[in-house]
Every structure is written in C-alpha cells, then in structure tokens.
C-alpha cells in the first residue's frame, strides 16, 4: 500500500514530514518535496497533523522543518518514527537549562 495517504514536506532539507491523514503503523508512504522523493515505512501510527522522520536523525542533531531548526533530537530517530515531544526538544526559551547571570 502506498500513496493513498496525504503528507506534506515543506523543504527538501527537512528531516520530517507532516501526516495530513491518520496513517496506520506499517503503511508505506511516498513523500515528495521539490523533486526529492522518500519512501518511508511508518513504524507507528501517525495522527493527523503529526510528524514522522523521513531520514535517520541522531541524538543531539537539529531537526529541520520549514527548512529551519524546530529543536533537537533527544534520542536516535529512525525513518518512519513519530517525531514529537518525546524525542524532540525545543532549544529556545529554556530557562530550565540555561543559568541566567
């Protein structure tokens, strides 16, 4: 099964795409963005509006969407995994991490 689910990837350098349908685990989706094409087998259910990795992302690596940094990976992430607050952390407004002097 492929191509029956809608997704959007904003910029070719992005590491994630957004599901525009509820996509069940095991589905194979074709993600295209400005001539780049990724075939991704989803490792878990992805809800409408949520993100999944289109490439491997290493622990600590910046995660890009809209071609910009939306945070960093706090664990290794495989293509097809859900990318959300459990494995992505924002880097801005982090008073809990930055000591103010």
């Amino acid at each position: 099964m492929s191509n029956e689910f809608k997704t959007v990837m904003m910029k070719p350098q992005d590491k994630v795409a957004v599901a525009l349908d509820h996509i069940p685990e095991g589905s194979i989706v074709q993600v295209t963005c400005q001539g780049k094409r990724f075939t991704v087998k989803l490792k878990e259910d992805i809800e409408f509006g949520h993100k999944f990795a289109v490439v491997s992302i290493s622990f600590g690596e910046d995660i890009l969407k809209y071609g910009e940094v939306i945070g960093a990976a706090i664990q290794d992430i495989q293509p097809g995994q859900h990318v959300h607050v459990h494995n992505l952390e924002g880097k801005r407004g982090r008073g809990d991490k930055i000591a103010y002097d």
Binding site: K6, E68, I70, G71, H84, G90, R92, G93, G95, D96
Partner: protein
C-alpha cells in the same frame, strides 16, 4: 488579484475611519466594571468590558495600562465614550478621558464616589450614553479606502495545520492590505521566538532589525529569569495534541501571517503604528492580551486563525476567525467564520483562500457581523509588565 478597494466606514474627526459605531463605557478601575456592565444592560448600542486593573500600578506597568485604556477609547470603531471611574484609583478617569478627547470624539466622565454611589453613577452614565447612542445612530457610513484600515493578525489554539493553511492565507491578505496602502500588525512576540531571523532580514533598516532581536530576547529572557522551560506554557497542551512539538515549530508557522512585505517598525504594546505597511507589535502570545494590544493600537478588524477552535472576540473590533482544518470548522461553526482547511484537502489554493478572507474583510468593514460579535464575546485583557502594589 483584483479586489474592490473601498468599504463603507465611519469617518472620525481625527481623520481615522471606524468600521463600527460603538458607544464605549470604559471602566478605568476594577471597582467600576460592574456599574459599567449595568449601563450596557440599560442602553442599547453600548459596549464595555470586565477587567481587574487600574489601581496600585506604577512605572512602565502603569503607563502600559493607561495607554491601553486610552487606545480602546480612541479606536476609530468607537463613536463616543463614557469613562467610568471610582474616584480614588491611580488610573484617574479624568486623565484617561483627557487623552481620548484629543481625537475630537465626545467623551464624558462619571465617578462613582462623586455621584454618590453605584445607582447614581449608573443613572448618570446611562443618561449620557443614551444621548451618545442617538447621536451615533445619526452618523452615516461613507465610502472609505483600504489604505485607512489597520488589520491585526493573530493565531490561537494553533495546530500543525496553522502553518500550512490559514496562516499562509492570512499572509496573502496581509500583503494585499499593505499593497493597498493599509497597515497589517504582526504580534505575539513569544510565538516568533525561533523565527525572528526571518523577520529581521525583512526589516527596512538596521534599527528595526535590532529592535526585532531586542523584543525577542526580552521575551525569551523572562522565561530564563524564571528558570522554566517556556514549553510548559507555550506550546499549550492543545497545540501539542495538534502536532506542534516546540515553540520554534509553532513560531515558524505563526510567522507566515506576516506575508512577504518589508517590516516597517516594531512598536510597543497598545501603541498606534506610526508607519503604514507591515508592523510588529510587541505582545505576549496570550490570545486576549494580544488582541487587546492590537485593538488599543487602533486595529479596526482582526484576523484570527485557529486549529483547536476559540470563541475570542473584542468589544469594539470585529474578529474574523479562520479555521486551519475542516474538522474544527464543522465542530465549532458557532464561533468560526471561514474555513482554510480546504487548502489541506487540496481543494483550494492558499491565494484563493486569501482572496476569500479579503472579501470577508470588505463585507465586515461595511457592517456584516462576525460570529464573535453576534455571540457578544467581549474579551479584554491587559499585558501587565509589573507587580501590583
């Protein structure tokens, strides 16, 4: 894109144009808000709002609240004002009225202590308001130009679709308003953290670019001073359920509302823009505080995109709400005016939705009521920047 560049508005003495003709009962102190509400129940055509401010405020916090009161009364959607005070408060009704009177509109002061209590003050305020409402009803709408419009843009209850559908469509409208010589306010400084470099690059000069980084860092430093992760408050639990994972992701979607035109200036909360075109008002992401700041800054109409759904409205400015996805539009049809979810479904282009929003602004500016107006959603909240003493 072609569009009718005119609408029917109310010309004010200071040259500005209103799209509503309200008589505002403006309480300058918490203690007067109930009496103000009672006047609005007695007299048709009046509006007011409840708040908890106006006393024991000092310094920049005093000034910001004062500026907000004056801005609400001075907004061109207001025909005339009854400023209602208690008498002993720090935000004196007479001082607020004096500033509003500079616009040339009728302004009267009623004080609960001076008039001998609530019932006498309500009677006096209602008498004045009734006269103002009749005078307002005699004013005719005139053909006005879109260059005289200030639109506020806002997103609240955002989801992952906000940055894909409704916000880019509002960006198209922002560009259209700017191209017609009008003004578009971008706000929500908190929700531009992580996208500030994109806007600073569009600043008309170095000074404006520097201000962009100053207001962003000031906002970010507030969370750092508190020793908290800003994500505990923003993105909100609803934003996170909607698929947004970080403040930066939300910000990059939110920034789309600003379209593509150059950034002319960065203004303070509740300040009236001094430039036409795209301007940035320094406000928090809090929906009602942001809305209030933009309306006090003279916005006659506000575009509000929402993915989770919201009832938000203002007592004096129509708020046009735009759903980011079809599901929330259908579930909260009572509150939401337009649907941009058609973009997600691939049924409509971003430009086409932008055109629909623009046409709706034209109709609403000429008198069509928004859903928030019909439901009397009179929200008001001031961004406090200091403690109460």
């Amino acid at each position: 894109m072609t569009s009718e560049k005119k609408f029917w508005g109310y010309r004010r003495q200071d040259g500005r144009v209103g799209i509503r003709n309200h008589v505002l009962i403006l309480p300058t102190i918490t203690c007067a808000t109930q009496a103000a509400k009672q006047i609005t129940e007695l007299v048709q055509g009046t509006v007011s709002f409840i708040h908890q401010h106006g006393c024991a405020q000092v310094g920049v916090d005093y000034e910001q609240t004062f500026r907000t009161y004056v801005g609400m009364g001075s907004n061109p959607n207001v025909f005339g004002v009854v400023v209602l005070g208690l008498g002993c408060e720090t935000h004196q009704a007479r001082s607020v009225a004096g500033e509003i009177a500079k616009t040339g509109k009728p302004v009267e002061v009623v004080s609960i202590q001076d008039h001998g209590g609530t019932l006498m003050a309500v009677a006096q305020g209602a008498k004045i308001a009734a006269k103002l409402v009749q005078d307002a009803s005699a004013q005719m709408r005139e053909l006005c130009d879109f260059s005289e419009l200030i639109i506020g843009t806002e997103c609240g209850g955002s989801d992952a679709c906000s940055g894909l559908s409704a916000n880019p469509a509002v960006g198209v409208v922002s560009d259209m308003i700017v191209d017609f010589g009008g003004t578009s306010i971008l706000a929500e400084t908190t929700e531009l953290i992580g996208a500030e470099h994109l806007l600073a690059n569009r600043a008309v000069n170095e000074r404006v670019a520097k201000r962009v980084y100053e207001v962003i860092h000031a906002m970010e430093n507030r969370s750092i001073h508190m020793g908290v992760d800003i994500r505990t408050g923003n993105p909100s639990p609803g934003n996170i359920r909607g698929g947004l994972s970080s403040l930066e992701e939300k910000s990059l979607g939110a920034a789309n509302k600003a379209g593509t035109r150059p950034l002319q200036e960065v203004i303070d909360y509740a300040q009236v823009p001094t430039q036409k075109g795209l301007v940035w008002m320094d406000t928090p992401g809090h929906d009602i505080e942001q809305l209030t700041g933009m309306v006090a800054g003279g916005a006659q109409v506000v575009l509000f995109t929402t993915g989770r759904g919201t009832p938000t409205g203002s007592p004096i400015a129509p708020v046009i709400k735009i759903a980011t996805n079809t599901s929330i539009f259908e579930r909260m049809e009572d509150n939401i005016d337009l649907n941009a979810g058609t973009i997600i479904e691939g049924k409509e282009s971003i430009d086409s939705v932008g055109q629909r929003i623009f046409d709706e602004i034209s109709r609403v500016s000429s008198g069509k009521l928004t859903k928030a107006e019909i439901l009397k959603q009179h929200d008001f909240g001031i961004w406090r920047i200091g403690p109460t003493f």
